[in-house]
Amino acid sequence: MSDGLRAQVGQLARRSVLRTLRQPAQFVPALIFPLFLLAVNSGGLKDATNLPDFPTDSYITFAVAVTFMQGALFSVMNSGTDLARDIETGFLNRLALTPLHGAALLTGLLAGSIVLGVIQGVVYLVVGVAGGVEVAAGVGGAVVLVLLSVAVTTAFGTIGMFAALRSGSGEAVQGLFPVFFVFLFLSSSSLPLDLLTTDWFHAVATINPVSYLLEAFRSLLIEGWNAGELALGFGIAAAIFAIGMTAAARSLKTRLVRT
């Protein structure tokens, strides 16, 4: 990376991080809402651990993986809404007049998602452990959990950016939230794949990549170190990141031509 490009990324990253941290309305719901659902679901579905072959006797340990995923979904909203606001207010048009590199814009904007991912990962883990979550992989596993949270949050953030560049509307980005919730709910979010007894639901959850992201989180929490599950989780996050970045870069080119 050239010095010029590094400076551009640095400036935009700084702006993105500050913007995220200065707007509690953005990151507080991303912390509170998933933790509330964790509390409710871990209480309400506690008896699911009595099902034969349920992998753990602590439902909160099983359910906290969903909390990490819900946090990542908020990243779609945050990164996308920020960029959409830049488009709506004309800030992107002003940037287009400068010699700014497109890659610097996208990379810089993701910095906010990365910071949010770190904050979310640490908070969910600390609150979860205080509430009874066990991390079978130990302290090292806890670190990898946060890294996986950052990877998933960043990957989903690229989809938010793509949506913003494609639509140019914050409202359209907000409209993505329910769509992503569908992906989350139609997965192994509440029960393991093997215990999804409804045929069509089992089939959908099996091809839903979110199920495997959840399995990666759960492997560290329930099993310990499972290289296969982790590789699959990080691999899916990397694939979402690559697809999201490519789509966002193409949309950015189109949008800059329009402006």
């Binding site: 209480g43 008896d47 099902l51 509440s190 215990l195 639901f201």
Partner: protein, 264 residues
């Protein structure tokens, strides 16, 4: 010289009809409003009844009509409540655009405005419930209750819809901006989810059991589940709670209307 022409002031029924007609027309004519109202309950039903079907096999879980019917009642009452909340969003939007102020100017009996929104909320809810019920039956939902019990179940849902609409209307008329949306939505969301959503109250433990035991929604859910399975329970309590909520929120929405009138 002829006498000046008198314009007849529209009465309660005319205002109710006009407000309801416009809201219903907006709802059915705008896919951005129609689709989420329909998709969300269906989606919750699919993910709860489909994804959690194995919960019906948890030791101690006894519900004669099966897990699909168990979750159907929750989704029915949830859609009733959220139908009311979404109507509140429409009221807030009408205030933001200034349309509601025209209602206030034109209506002699302004209670008709609230009633009109209420009628629209009910029509929306009937549409959603029809689709939800058909899909549940196609999915194999077993109904143990008889006709009168099912009337009771839907009657309960109607009362919940009215109460939720009056709650949301009260907030919308006080805040008069769509920014009041979370204020309408979050309390309803919280009170619904700290009830026995996934398993009966007896199978809950810890803090959620303590909260669910005093949550009025628990009685509504248990009565609804009793009605669908043909094993009525807590019926009088549930209807008393639903009617009481309706009266409390009618008073609350009337206060909201006064606040909107005072704001001009």
């Amino acid at each position: 010289m002829s006498a000046p022409r008198q314009t007849e002031t529209p009465g309660f029924r005319a205002i109710t009809g006009a407000v309801a007609w416009r809201s219903i027309h907006n709802f059915f004519g705008n896919p951005a409003l129609l689709v989420p109202a329909l998709i969300f309950p269906l989606f919750f039903f699919a993910s709860f009844a489909g994804g959690l079907a194995a919960i019906g096999e948890v030791p101690g879980f006894e519900f004669s009509s099966g897990y699909t019917a168990f979750q159907f009642v929750f989704v029915l009452l949830q859609s009733a409540a959220f139908g009311g909340v979404f109507t509140g969003f429409g009221i807030a939007r009408d205030f933001e655009t200034g349309f509601a102020r025209r209602y206030l100017l034109a209506a002699a009996n302004r209670n008709g405005i609230i009633a009109g929104y209420g009628v629209a909320a009910l029509v929306r809810a009937f549409f959603t419930w029809t689709v939800l019920t058909v899909i549940a039956l196609v999915a194999g939902m077993q109904i143990g209750g008889e006709g009168i019990e099912l009337v009771g179940l839907y009657g309960l849902a109607i009362l919940v819809n009215i109460a939720a609409t009056l709650w949301a209307a009260g907030v919308a008329m006080r805040v008069r901006s769509i920014q009041g949306g979370p204020l309408m939505q979050m309390p309803v969301f919280l009170i619904l989810f700290v009830a026995p959503v996934y398993v009966p109250l007896d199978l809950l433990s810890g803090w959620i059991h303590a909260v669910a035991s005093v949550n009025p929604v628990t009685a509504l859910l248990e009565a609804g589940r009793g009605l669908i399975s043909g094993d009525p329970t807590l019926i009088a309590l549930a209807f008393a709670i639903a009617i009481a909520l309706g009266f409390v929120f009618a008073w609350w929405s009337r206060g909201g209307l006064r606040s909107a009138e005072a704001a001009g």
